[in-house]
Amino acid sequence: MIEAVLKKDFGNFSIDVEIQFRSLRNVLFGVSGSGKSSILKMIAGFYEPDYGRVVVNGRVLLDTERGVNIPIYKRNVGYIPQEYTLFPHMDIEANLLYGVKAKGLKFDKDKFDFLVELTGLKNLLKAHPYQLSGGQRQRVSLVRALLVEPDILLLDEPFSALDRPIRDGLKELLVELLESFKVSAIFVTHDLEEAYEFSEEIAILENGRIVQTGEKGEVFSEPKSRSIAELLGFKNIFEIDELKNGEIVVKGFSFKVERLKNNCRFAFIRPEDVFLLRMDRDISDKENVLFGRVLRVFEKPSGMLLKIKSKELVVYSKVTRHVVDKMGISEGMRVAVSLKRDAIVCGDGT
């Protein structure tokens, strides 16, 4: 359980957030410059907010109102940044044991052996950081942080500098370690996929403010505003011209929507939820059907993205390569798509 209220004015930029995480795996998501790292650093105690309160598992680490400010070395907070994580002048063993010694903890050999074995560092104990790969270094950093039994782990884009396969392996390892040691973590990232994979709870940060926070599923399926929808990969964003009988009107087209809210000014739908229909079948029972022409076919690693235009409306639909081949989709072709009714979300224009 992590609670943080932080206010800090940097002159040309300010942070004003209230964060509450109850899960083990929490993500702070936002573009670079949105203030993610600064928030993490204030929780760790690297610098002080103008006003703030930080409580981890019921222990007050900072309360500017009451003059409480526990120094970094007593906060019991683990911190793992992207680079410069290991002490370059110490070998791996000395790095791993630094915290145990500094804190005067009893050396738990079983735990040490278990972790070193699990992370594949056993043969590297006498090596120096420069001899290790980026992935190995971050593993050392993780084990070193866990050996001092922190109340919370703060991860500041720890895997961003690594190659994809290594990053994936480390993410798995991280989740495994957090779950077996029951340590909660705040993971800062600007990578949508990483945020989705890692999080149980997520807070989205924009310009130093939390714009939406909640359980992963809820946030990813229902962005509150246009900018959040953009951030979360909703490529289709329509401005609503009119609301009529539970339907939205966009550039002359009417679409049925499952849930209409009062502040609906924009509608969002993921390209994955815009289905390509087979014209040789009866499509009269399909919902929100749109006829148009394929403008462009984009190849993506995960499939094909079609840019379809119908009158003035442009819609993106994501389909598998197989579908494109089988249906012989090419640029200029006439197609029909269906906008999945319960996948259309609406929100405000901020």
């Binding site: 760790a44 120094p71 970094i72 907070v77 940044p81 370059p88 002048h89 630094y98 804190k103």
Partner: protein, 255 residues
């Protein structure tokens, strides 16, 4: 032609110039000149005085200069930037003039009430310190600047307090750079002439250091002895720098 090839020519010229001057010096003396040097009581006393004053000067430089270098490296404050410029002053004004300015201060009646620095060990030492400490400050500053503060922070999250985290990480990583600065300060003190002469007076067996001794030898017409003493200083400087370089390459930390 490649630029590295073009720059090879002036480089060779410079090296030849330096080596020629030194080797020519050694060709001008014999081993017996060195022997005679070490039987010369006044010279030996000058060596001892020079070592004593320069060591105290370096001790003071490290005591004040290393923390100052740390502040200059870490603080972004305007005042600190101004202080950085102030530390250039002892380097840019000629040592003789430093001596005159110090003499002016030491002859102040207020200071004279406490201690008379003129023509004493402490007068000479302070003169050397004034000229030598900026090298320690500058080298420490550059050394600390090369170490990102993140190591200290991580050490703190692992339970090390402010001082322990600093000494275990930043200080150890900056150590070789600081050491280089201290050696520079030391050699500068050992070879200091102008300010030490003006403030200390260059009194034989009392406030005479090696350069002053050499100057007096030559003034007295003992050029050969003066040359031998000069080459002795060259050897000391060369060996010290070599020694430090060896230590540094042995303990080099790879980032």
């Amino acid at each position: 032609m490649k630029l590295t090839k073009v720059s090879f020519f002036p480089t060779i010229l410079l090296v030849t110039f330096v080596l020629f001057v030194i080797i020519w010096g050694f060709l001008g003396i014999s081993l017996s000149d060195f022997k005679r040097l070490f039987l010369d009581g006044e010279f030996l006393s000058a060596v001892i005085f020079g070592l004593e004053t320069s060591f105290v000067s370096v001790a003071l430089s490290s005591l004040f200069g290393i923390p100052a270098g740390f502040l200059l490296a870490r603080s972004e404050k305007f005042l600190v930037k101004v202080i950085d410029v102030v530390f250039d002053v002892p380097i840019i004004i000629p040592p003789l003039i430093v001596g005159v300015l110090l003499l002016n201060v030491f002859n102040n009646s207020f200071i004279l009430e406490f201690y008379s620095f003129v023509f004493t060990f402490w007068g000479a030492t302070i003169a050397q310190f004034f000229i030598a400490f900026p090298f320690t400050v500058k080298a420490s500053k550059s050394a600390f600047e090369l170490v990102p503060p993140i190591y200290e922070r991580i050490a703190m999250t692992l339970g090390a307090n402010y001082y322990k985290s600093f000494f275990d990480t930043t200080f150890k990583l900056a150590k070789s750079g600081i050491l280089t600065g201290l050696v520079l300060s030391w050699l500068r003190s050992l070879g200091e002439f102008g300010a030490t002469l003006i403030v200390g007076g260059g009194i034989a067996y009392k406030t005479e250091n090696i350069p002053i001794n050499i100057y007096l030898k030559i003034m007295e017409g003992n050029f050969r002895e003066g040359l031998a003493a000069s080459l002795f200083v060259v050897l000391v400087a060369f060996v010290s720098v070599l020694f430090i370089k060896l230590i540094l390459t042995k303990n080099k930390v790879r980032l």
